[in-house]
Symmetry: D2
Subunit: 348 residues, 4 copies
């Protein structure tokens, strides 16, 4: 028996499809409603034939009353600028909301115009949202109606970086983050830059200095450590579908051996089943978390330059989106943290 | 509680690693022994870091007495020419054996020299082996001690082709199979032809007319339908890791509409949870079964040429190897056919 | 000094860009006009930064009078259904036209509705067009004003197949063509099916039985050999950018050893600098012609089934489009066949 | 007529094959000798079928006297640790040597043990070698008998970084280099880490803090600018065959707008035909230099962090190896810098 009825708004995107895959193996949640504006009326299997004989549902249009009668919790896997208009309606109806888009991640409403390019229509709700970085916000998440699920890059970045800041090992003003991502993060909407012929055999640096994940990362660093920082954050599109690696360069301010830093990380994450600190000398590769909810972290102290280099990897569609959303759903409902999320990575 | 203790010989190869991944999510089987000659003594996680914090085991050398004391069932994920020497020892100790290599698939011992290039050392055991194509051999498999798990191409080919032959829709002498495979089937042993730089942006036809899967396919066609056939079978290496597609060209001998042929296929597979006959007009792609135990089949009747074209796709490491091996383990133990195998495909 | 002034209509597509690359290294032709409706007014380097510091031109709109005053020869690298409207205007102005689209390849105007889905507006010009398969039509091409440059699949298919038919080695009714192509053939226009996330780690069979290249291939087979045939032709999208392989299955009707068939092919192509018949036992891979104008052919006689298997590979954007177009331009102008086309393939 | 006779030692590797491709289109140099220890006696086309009908040569073993009688210039495309033993013999015979390996790049012989893991056998020759970074060492190269061709990463790094240091725009101690490379740089020798199944859908950080290109880059920075620096240098293997991108993070010390910095770069490279400084706002992607000898540079001033971010891309087998070697051969022989190197990049 499944206890909680859930729905997905934006079921036709890649994060939506990944939510469906993960929810199918969840012991307590059942999918009741799938919403897609662009493909309303079609069968899910017309969009995603992999679900044939597994789940037979139609994609519906958004109707708040009908949805309210059918689900207790809604995932929003919508493009930027959509959820901010709809979520308040859902909250009023008593539906718990987990927003995978960025619409409720920033506390300062004005930032949406600057970083996202749209005007937020319900800024008064920003303070009600809890940032869903489960490893750092578990208690608040448990008691929230509205969870702003972290971005893919922020997830990889923050899990790798926060312990170094908490332990005051590094200079907060020295942080440089070099991100590499697969192209599924760009979604299923067709655009030239996401075509196979453009992405294959290619690396592309994009949005240098003005990526919308910058304020999200800086805000979380402040929340957890009290440091107001300006990070350097550069993202690269590389020829793969899934996976994010963040290579992070930081200046050590405390004399520390790799053993001490490594032990500190292990202590921080000793109860976090989805963060795996790699043994010293071992740096994770993205494929080693493929399809799973893990975030793997590797550490290197470069004595020639007094820098701590942190490498953090996730599957952008799982821990960077849908898996983390389910982790948050588990917290909200008081279930096992890893319910439905226990699969090992697929390799090769 | 897990009921049955199993081991894997050849745990360091890709099929071995995939067996581990799938067994970890199996409700009734527990992994007790991992054997690898090439990496004996190392930790599994040194070879496959994806398993950190999930399974902590050493890779051992093969010792029949120790193994016999620790497991009831052994998977052989070894290269061709290995299992034929060892399996008889294991059977004598009462260990059930599921061989993922080709060593017990052919009934005629001489064929091993011709098609595989080695001399089989225990030909008297060939008749004791049951061919593990579960959709066609279920009863025999249930009662067997030694299961010859089908090859990757034969699995895709036979599931797609046999109904057309059973229904006498096609001329058995007209069969042409054009196979496309990802490179993981070639294993983890380094060779020039498997290097990224050689495989990427490339298609390669190999072993034309003398692939070792030819006699296996022809033998099974004979077993199921009584037809002695010579097939044309050509395999192509394409730039992907997982996945096999077999496009099969056959001459229609019975006037049949696509609806009739399609219905016939649906009837044949109505109780087979791992075979999905696609709706008319819908041809499966390999990624739509990625990471899963499904075999998806698409059908097309070309009226211009009176040919039935059958497209069959599998994940070569799952339904084409380790997943089917677990399906066979389930039958041997009287468990649910789909125990441990219920995951949906990962897409994209 | 460059002797002939040329222009490209559809310069913003992949074939257009490839024409530019090849024309830049051509000794006798200079690019004077680049036309693109979708990106009129922009710089070529805004669309294709690889040309920075090499060619500095704007993309213009189509104006017949201005074009007529500036070029002697026009390449049409336009989508299907465009060139048929414009080319007659150009011919009237005395401009030689080489059409890389399918608009003038079929002699029967009605076929355009059936196979291409558009109504041809100038069917009376179909008989004036010469099919630009240079290895078979050289004399006619030399004297033509309008050349219908062959499609990518037809080029690979016909060069591999015609000798077997000319020599009457095979049954013309037995022809089955299994084509595999990179995705650049689908063009730069964004669509879901061409996205990296959909193509990577995937094989996709498409347009089974109704690909628009079927009538083109059958028409050419008739023209060269007098055989009216119905071919089976199935195309597969595989995860690469460039390259086509056609694996062709045919029934031998004449007893012939592989040596005899091979010798026959070598004789046919002994003066064709762009067709390389591989030594017996050697099957070509697509990457071995990457970036070049070669068509490589491998032959295999399967004695178990009395079939001749022919494998033919090209770079779809060069020999399958822009390279062959330049080869045709060379013939039309009486230049060396290989002017501007002599580069070796790039590997790896 | 070709004026200079050249040979290649290590012709069977990827850099060797790329030298052959480029030399074939060179107007003044002819290939007379191909040396390969691992495949002596075989035809080049057995190793690299792409050269069929283009160049017909055997791979020979190394015999100094015979080589001396047949060539004037030798390229060494050998693994680390080979050329240092052989090149002195060649120099004594009056053969000019261009070494694509690292054996003569470092001035301090002891560094070879530390960074390369071998003992250099002819340290007295290190001072005779000229570092072949043509854009910075042109005069010395012209007069040299022994050219140490730069490494792939150092080429991309130095061309991007040196102007910022020369202009004293940046703090020399702030340099962080994040490199991404295709796998062809790892060569054709089979190893697990270069297999398609391991590289595809994966990113891998390797040799963090101890890559052998670190001392080479630091030495060149010192030579050109007088700065003794310790750089942070991290390399990542990404799923592509060709291409290197270096993303470089540096601290601005001089107040400078992006316009001023950009102008400074344009001035430095105004006579360098192979370095293309991209317009402001435009960051290069690796595929935009594919197959060509270009190094493209993009610049970004991040005002939030006062950092100058420099992105530099090359084709690792061309500008990062064989193309630059030919550029050096051109200088040594007093030819046009771009003889044989004028091809535009191949895209897509």
């Amino acid at each position: 028996m499944k206890y909680v009825k859930v729905g997905i708004v934006g079921a036709n995107g890649y994060s939506g499809a990944e939510l469906i895959r993960l929810l199918l193996q969840h012991p307590y949640a059942s999918i009741e409603v799938l919403i897609s504006n662009s493909t309303t009326g079609s069968l899910l299997t017309e969009q995603y034939p992999q679900f044939q004989d597994i789940i037979h549902m139609k994609l519906d249009t958004f109707n708040i009353n009908e949805i309210a009668s059918r689900v207790e919790l809604l995932f929003f896997a919508t493009p930027s600028g959509v959820a901010n208009k709809i979520i308040p309606l859902c909250l009023e109806k008593g539906i718990k909301c987990i927003d995978l888009s960025g619409d409720f991640r920033l506390r300062n409403g004005d930032d949406y115009v600057h970083w996202y390019g749209f005007e937020h229509e319900n800024v008064e709700y920003l303070s009600k949202a809890v940032y869903g970085l489960a490893e750092y916000n578990e208690e608040k998440i448990r008691n929230s109606q509205l969870i702003a699920n972290p971005g893919c890059f922020p997830t990889a970045t923050l899990l790798g970086l926060l312990p170094a800041l908490q332990g005051e090992w590094i200079d907060p003003n020295s942080i440089i983050i070099d991100g590499k991502t697969g192209v599924s993060g760009a979604g299923r909407k067709p655009k030239v830059g996401s075509l196979f012929s453009e992405v294959n055999e290619n690396v592309n640096a994009y949005k240098i200095g003005h990526h919308q994940h910058i304020p999200e990362i800086e805000q979380s660093i402040f929340d957890v450590t009290g440091n107001k920082v300006n990070i350097s954050f550069t993202t690269h599109l590389i020829p793969m579908t899934r996976g994010i690696m963040c290579t992070m360069y930081t200046k050590l301010v405390k004399k520390g051996t790799i053993d001490e830093v490594h032990q500190y990380y292990e202590d921080i994450f000793k109860d976090s089943e989805f963060v795996r600190v790699r043994p010293i000398g071992n740096i994770p590769a993205t494929k080693e978390v493929y399809g799973s909810n893990y975030c793997d972290i590797g550490l290197y102290v470069d004595e020639r330059t007094d820098r701590l280099i942190i490498v953090s990897v996730i599957d952008n569609l799982v821990k960077g989106a849908s898996g983390q959303a389910i982790q948050n759903m588990n917290l909200v409902n008081g279930w096992d943290r890893s319910a439905g999320l226990a699969s090992a990575p697929i390799f090769p």
